[in-house]
């Protein structure tokens, strides 16, 4: 896909997510919107191998959204790839429906379980190590939040992946600088994430996480000559795409009022939805 098409796809994903969440009043829009471009670049930018209609294809790349609040952002994409029926999107969180507020192993195309932070990198390292030992060429992409990097388990896994030269493991840090109570820098500084990952033995790239041009350039490093695993620090804006949510911690799990809902609809170009 060309950049223009990817941008259209990103708008489509925001619209689908907005409708899905607003219909039920459940879900975390700002966390999901912060990594929309990352996911679109991965799934449609030609870097991750996805096999339409075949969620269990052995050669697929494993994509794990470890920051579970944003895992709902995979749902419209997975439906688009024919992994389950699109009608599931309207049944989101309903009893009998497939899709919940956090992604789950039962959902075709979801490679793990999320909702508790700090598990995805270790699990991804497991996938990557198995692939390496089986001489299989698929890769594992794990999206973590910067707030998730508070979890010590992330660093245990980072050390492990570097020691084992898991170059088939790619971590993308969705770095929106916010956690529930406010700005990470003010609450408990994460320090210089770039040097931290580098000192753990990773290749590090730093990009604007909403720029397809920069994301695609960073993804093109995947599979380079380096033996090291790659981390892409993607600088993002939490709530990106909805002006009144952007960069505001209090919107983490708040559902808009009717007036705000109309404003959101207008900003996303949604005329009406049921």
């Amino acid at each position: 896909m060309q950049i223009n098409d990817l941008e259209n796809k990103a708008l489509w994903l925001r619209q689908e997510l907005w409708k899905m969440v607003m219909r039920k009043g459940k879900g975390h829009i700002p966390s999901a919107f912060s990594c929309v471009e990352i996911l679109i670049a991965l799934y449609y930018g030609g870097f991750a191998k996805v096999f339409p209609g075949e969620p269990k294809h052995p050669d697929r790349d494993r994509i794990i959204v470890s920051k579970g609040h944003a895992a709902i952002a995979q749902y419209p994409i997975l439906a688009d790839y024919g992994f389950f029926d699109k009608s599931e999107l309207t049944k989101y969180t309903e009893p009998g429906g497939l899709l919940g507020m956090y992604a789950d192993f039962r959902i075709p195309g979801i490679e793990g379980i999320s909702g508790s932070l700090g598990h995805g990198v270790g699990m991804g390292a497991g996938y990557a190590l198995a692939a390496k030992s089986d001489q299989s060429f698929h890769k594992s992409f794990v999206i973590v939040g910067d707030g998730e990097c508070y979890e010590g388990s992330i660093w245990e896994s980072a050390m492990f992946a570097a020691h084992h030269n898991l170059k088939n493991l790619i971590v993308i840090v969705d770095c929106n600088e916010l956690c529930i109570l406010g700005k990470t820098d003010e609450l408990l500084s994460l320090g210089d994430l770039k040097s931290k990952w580098m000192s753990f033995g990773w290749e590090v790239a730093s990009v604007n996480g909403h720029s397809f041009e920069e994301l695609l350039r960073a993804f093109s490093k995947v599979g380079s000559k380096s033996k090291k695993p790659l981390v892409i620090i993607a600088n993002t804006i939490k709530g990106s795409g909805i002006s009144f949510m952007e960069g505001k911690a209090e919107w983490h799990n708040k559902i808009p009022s009717p007036v705000e809902l109309s404003q959101g609809n207008a900003e996303l170009g949604i005329v009406e939805f049921e």
Partner: protein, 318 residues
């Protein structure tokens, strides 16, 4: 006669790892991961099957998360560490990355209960049965000698499932010969039949229970002894069939009484509408930590042979 020559007593961990090693030589999907915990048999495994051994570092959280990715990719994974560190230390990871997806990973914990006697509380697991048995879908197995450990390990290798294997730190006298294999389905072994009181126990304390039984026999009392080695997935129906002829029951555990082994049996009794006088021996809430070897600790916590005998005598009075 059972052979209790100390020279021939192998550690449970060696017996178990040898079983895994034997299978791993022909199945390269078997992966053994240690969080910096060793064994003589593991040295052989590491040397001869280096591609199937992973040192996780002293990083139990990553070890468990990693195993989930490996297991989903078709590997049969065995995780190995000292018991407190492979249970409570990484409980969250076990819950989310293994239990939630019911992955066939075996957790092997060494030195359960008060096994690391002089190391005291950080190395004890007075809570592991309670916390592990609350995990959805897990099976918990607690062998009491090398033969039962061998049979349980061989079965775990052949039938992959989400399991916690509780191993004793030290070598204990042999209780079983090959007959142990016959109780894999039931999950318990009736060691002896008695008149009015039955004692149900497992692991290291089973040896003290057998001692107590022998002493009581000299005093003319025949007590029943059951080794309920499968602590979770109790075969309630079969167990109560065996217990139905007794008037009362004594449970003996090297664990806090809250949510533990005796508690599990009480729950099963209540759920099945069965009434029986029950007394539980174990560590009480508020227990304090003291120095001492395991026998001294058993006395201090009231789970030693003498305590078992007194408890049986009490029950006999009723």
């Amino acid at each position: 006669m059972l052979d209790n020559d100390p020279e021939k007593k192998k550690l449970m961990r060696d017996v178990v790892i040898d079983q895994i090693y034997n299978a791993a030589t022909t199945d390269r999907n078997i992966v053994f991961i240690s969080a910096d915990f060793g064994a003589q048999s593991l040295d052989k495994f590491r040397n001869e099957l280096p591609d199937q051994f992973i040192h996780a570092g002293i990083s139990e959280q990553n070890m468990v998360d990693l195993s989930s990715g490996l297991a989903i990719s078709g590997k049969q994974v065995f995780l190995y560490a000292m018991a407190p560190f492979i249970t409570a230390r990484c409980y969250e990871q076990i819950k989310c990355s293994l239990s939630a997806m019911n992955l066939p990973v075996t957790l092997i914990g060494v030195g359960v209960g008060l096994g690391y006697d002089h190391s005291t509380l950080t190395h004890f697991t007075p809570e592991d049965i309670a916390c592990m048995r609350a995990l959805n879908g897990i099976e918990i197995l607690s062998p009491s000698d090398q033969k039962s450990a061998e049979v349980i390990a061989a079965n775990a290798v052949t039938n992959p499932a989400f399991r916690y294997l509780r191993l004793e730190r030290n070598a204990h006298d042999q209780i079983y010969n090959d007959e142990f294999i016959n109780c894999l389905d039931t999950g318990f072994y009736e060691i002896s039949r008695g008149d009015r009181v039955a004692i149900v126990s497992y692991g290291a304390l089973l040896h003290k229970v057998i001692e107590a039984r022998d002493d009581l026999k000299k005093a003319g009392l025949e007590v029943g002894v059951i080794d309920l080695y499968r602590v979770k997935r109790i075969n309630v129906h079969k167990l109560f069939e065996h217990l139905s002829s007794y008037k009362s029951l004594l449970t003996v555990e090297e664990h806090i009484l809250d949510g533990g082994f005796g508690g599990a049996i009480l729950e099963a009794l209540a759920d099945n509408g069965l009434q029986m006088k029950v007394r539980r021996l174990g560590l009480s809430d508020g227990f304090t930590v003291v120095n001492g070897d395991r026998d001294q600790l058993h006395k201090f916590y009231g789970v030693d042979t003498g305590d078992i005998i007194s408890a049986v005598m009490e029950l006999e009075k009723n």
